[in-house]
Amino acid sequence: MQKTLLGSSLWYGGAALFFAFLLAPLAILIVVSFNPVAMVFPPQGFTLKWYATILDKPDFLQAAWASTILGVATALLSTGLGVLAAIGLQRQRGAARAFVSSLLMSPLFIPAVIVALALFQIIFMMGLVNTIWTLLAAHVVVTLPYPLRNVMAQMEGFDVRLEEAALTVGATPRQALWRVTLPLLKASIIPSLIIVFVLSWNNYTVSIFLANKNWTTLPLQLRAYLQYEYEPFVAAMSTILIVASIVLLLIVDRTVGLGAVRKRD
């Protein structure tokens, strides 16, 4: 950041907008979750009862469980595919590489609702029904760009001689992958796992099209509940989602650092 008047006023202006539009509503939501009476601000007291009521709502517990399983499965699958794609793409040059990587990255540039609608249409046309598998596949498609981009960024600086050295001491290509390449990509794989989990855990747009009754995720459950009830319980539930996401991202930052991918190069 250049230390010019324009630069610093943009910086502070941006920061102010960020607080006003992103953090302030979240902060209000969190405060409201401790309000004993209703979804109003400022609160008229302090209570934790809304948090306790979660335990009385089996729908929410089940949804939380569904979201967790889906998130973990998406994280593993999406990151795994992202790593494989990044390694494969690194060995290609020219048009094929550019084409395939933009194809895999495209969910980043297309509105999520359109991706979801397209997937829904295809699944419908193929005569499939919404199951955990179609939901999982959809989550993988929309999250794949993140691990792909992370791992590719780290692969840029990767020296193939490190793999070749493994081959010269008797490693098969698969052993070289497990013993040399993947451990060296850890700095981009671990954050990818967590980021994909968070994205999947929070995803609403894709899930609304493709989830079914047995696999209602937490954001869907929350939205469904909101249609009939408007009480601080919803704020409490949202607070849990927010805090869980923040904690996970903090773990990433503390272990390998959110900027680790770039610093490594």
């Binding site: 070749e164 493994a166 490693a171 013993r179 850890k186």
Partner: protein
Amino acid sequence: MGQISVNRVSKSWGSFVALDSIDLDVREGEFLSVLGPSGCGKSTLLRIIAGLEAPSGGEIHLAGRNVTRDPVWKRRIGFVFQNFALWPHLSVFRNVSMGLELRRTPAAELRKRVNDALAMVQLEALADRLPSQLSGGQQQRVALARAIVLKPEVLLLDEPLSALDKNLRQDMQVELKTLQQTLGLTTVFVTHDQEEALSLSDRVVVMNKGVIEQLDTPDAIYNRPVSEYVARFVGEAFFFRGRVEERGATQGMRLAEDMVIPVEGAGQRAGRDGVAFVRPEWVTLDTPQPHGDVELPRGVVDRLMFFGQSSDYLVTLGNRQMRVKRRPDAPKFRAGDTVILRCQARLLPNAASAP
């Protein structure tokens, strides 16, 4: 058949020919250097021997077995990369032990062999360090230990010393040679540094544009090169062109109407045009005498350069400049002096070689 046998090996990428039908036998226990400028195909040859690159044609035999179709991991080779290629996430010990782990070597034997290899390169004390905590010379030693711990049939070195600074490089040359001799390892050493190649090797291969120009002992490569290219690449050379003449029992080369230089070597018959060369240390300078040596080449001292181990005269001969290396005694000549050159130039066998 030698320990390494390269038969008619070629490699091309599209229309670019990196190696053109190379034949090469490396004897058991031999230290062979492959010398050439970048792009001459020397690294490609080494990578093909290792199996890191597949040849477009030809065969590779290691220890009598045809390994042409064998992947790298099935060949029993040790390879040292130019940048060492140590695994940054593993300790020195694990870097060296990886090959043994892959072979499921029992723990006790593994520990002993890794420690032995580290002892051989004087790194036992640093076994727990990460590569990033080592100096360049130490990293080089780890790379060597990693290559020798598996008791390979051949040791392949791809410019392993070029990443080190000069003093360290000279120390490592001695260590490398000692290690190689102690273990009796058949070694192929790729380098673009002619001094390194000459000082370490039993034999030297000089490569040019994918073909072997000359394969011989360091002495023969330096003193009896087969072409201008080799003469130029392995040291400084000054070339003479002229007609070879019989002069009693000796030969001379007439450079001009009144200038003849004594030559030796079975390059050309009398009466034919030829090319001869001298090395800077083969020439002595003398003060011209009024009546003797009328036909010897004359030059004018241009400048004197002091190097400690030698004093070099730069002498202008016609419109060319040659270097004459002398011991750094009190200089006999000053800039501007006219001198005669006493030397025996060596005829190149191949008169057809390009200027």
